[in-house]
Amino acid sequence: MVELKGYGYAYPGTEDPILRDVDLRIGAGECHCLTGATGSGKTTLALALKGLLGAGTQTGGIRFAAASGGADPTVGLVLQNPETQLFATSVGEEVAFALENRGVAPEQMVAKVRVALQAVGLDVPLDARVSSLSMGQKYRVLIASVLVMEPGLLILDEPAAQLDSRGLDELRLVLHGLAREGTALLLCEHRSQAFQGLVDSYWHLDGHGRLQRGEADPLTPSPSAERAASRQRPALARAEAVRSESLAAGAGFDTPLWAGASFALEAGQRILVQGPNGAGKTTLLRMLAGLDAPREGELRVLGRKPSLKTLRGRIGFLFQNPQRQLFEDRVIDEVAFALKRRGVSAEERRARVAAILEQCGILDLSQRSPHTLSFGQKHLVALASVLVSDPELLLLDDPFAGLDAHCRNAAWRALMDWRGHSTKTLVWTSHHTGDGPVTADVLLTVEGGRIACRLLRK
């Protein structure tokens, strides 16, 4: 189907190639998984196969086997963020986007769109709102919108990052079906284990642009991180951090997102909020931070009714994609910002910033611009900038999404160090089951309009 021979690529303005001497052959119906740290060149390789790399230095070559009509087979590419790839309001219009771009007659579009939707198992009206679909369904719409081009090779960039367990199960079924029908698949994925059983070959980009044979890596936090966590767990958890009575979320006249949530969380606990996409995990976190008001019920956070005014300076919140909040020219200034605003002296600021950067394993980056760092490094800078103010309650919204194993472990270690000798409360969300129960004290499960609270450890 496609063969790369000695392929290399360097972005304009850089002499160091991001890909070097890459040899890869993907046959029809095969599924290959490409792993590697963030910034190692996985997306670059995907863009190269799709022919979307701009000016830069290319070496070696990419050769496509001719399709039945004699032309090169089409390459379909689904990028990482579904939100910036959904152009239309209705499902039919979204799937037909590529057909519009190819100048296909409108009367031929409907049949092609229906075939593509059937291939991904989506039974929705063509005028259904894209925004009303679950994340898993949206992802399948995106795959359908690429399948409509009848690609010989389908490339998915980080498909597991956005999907919950159900969405992943659905995607696996779709990909199995496509591989059976002869479509070649290339998955660029940190969570390589998510597609075990489907993948024929694993490949690993080593961070220096070289492609090597790889294998599925484990998903759970490393045993050493877990051992460190157990060692540093405080002996007792005491004061009440959060109390919720019959809490409900949701705006307007719609059915509440969830309701009847009553739970109490103690200071010093590690709380994992788990549930599928769209269940209301982020909404719960936003309520705890005082950003959204409850629809019903009573909520006390750190002994007060939560609001920006009452909790400012006492809580830390790391949003999804926290890299977007970075704005200073140097990492050291970025991390020091919160302390500067609190009037902490320059000397103390320097000491605290150095300590937190070391804790996060990024002390060597202190003089670099945050904007030139890799995705994972930016994530760690954002985490350091929240941890440095030593909040009483730390809220993390899907903090490990899109992070490679190295950055995930570094972030986790930094969090455990931060909590180690204190009664700081940590709340984090995840849509992947199995990501955290081993390390959490309390599990809040948000599903089906309810929140269930389970104590995992005393």
Partner: protein, 237 residues
């Protein structure tokens, strides 16, 4: 592969609400655009209270014809209340009690000038907008216009996210801080700069996603048939 084999088909959506696209207007798109422009122009030209009241009635009729839900009207009314309060305050400050009538009139005119455009945008799908714009713009320009409108809510969400993150980090950008000149650097550094960077990054991602689906491959783009597909709702099961 059987259709809907995942068992999470469209009708199983949360709370069972209908989730069809909004473009069910009883008016053709060109007529809706013409009417919204006319109503907006009339709002600027008319001044007498009874004419403005009549114009408000016509706007309501337009809203019903476009089958736009009450949510839009609720949002617009909330804006009207704030706008009227600000205008009343400023006029009374400058003219005293004599400023009340002009303030109410200007507020109503502004509201009625923007309402038809809001109704038009809420009732018109992207493909219809693009089709309409294709008449006067090249296909690429028409697509860019449609995509820009489509991604505005996403950008607003992103900016809100940045705002909240920065406030919690201690940035002095609460509404009250706008009146403190020494806080203005925070507005620029913590909100405007990251929001601009985010907007540019988003634009890059959107352009890449469009090219990945062959945007720009063909000079003559066609357009999804849109409402021509819509079955008669009364005949639907």
């Amino acid at each position: 592969m059987p259709v809907g084999y995942f068992g999470n088909s469209f009708r199983d959506q949360r709370d069972g609400r209908s989730a069809r696209t909004p473009s069910a207007s009883r008016l053709p798109v060109w007529a809706s655009l013409g009417l919204s422009l006319l109503l907006a122009c009339l709002a600027v030209a008319l001044r007498a209270p009874w004419t403005l009241a009549a114009l408000a009635g016509v706007n309501l009729l337009y809203l019903v014809l476009c089958r736009v839900g009450c949510g839009l009207l609720r949002k617009a009314m909330r804006g009207l209340v704030w706008q009227t309060a600000i205008l009343l305050g400023l006029h009374c400050l400058r003219f005293g009690a004599e400023g009340v009538y002009p303030a109410l009139r200007v507020s109503s005119q502004l509201f009625l000038a923007f309402l038809p455009g809001m109704i038009f945008l809420a009732s018109t799908g992207r493909s219809e907008l693009v089709r309409l714009a294709s008449g006067v713009l090249p296909p690429t320009g028409a697509f860019v216009l449609g995509a820009s409108l489509h991604f505005v809510p996403l950008l607003v969400r992103e900016v809100k996210g940045i705002y909240h993150a920065q406030v919690l980090r201690g940035a002095r950008i609460l509404p009250i801080d706008i009146f403190k000149p020494w806080c203005w650097p925070d507005w620029v550094g913590c909100l405007i700069v990251p929001s601009t960077v985010q907007a540019l990054a988003m634009a890059g991602e959107i352009a890449m996603a469009a090219r990945a689906r062959d945007f720009g491959a063909c000079r003559h783009r066609t357009c999804w048939p849109g409402n021509a597909l819509r079955p008669d709702p009364e005949r639907e099961p």
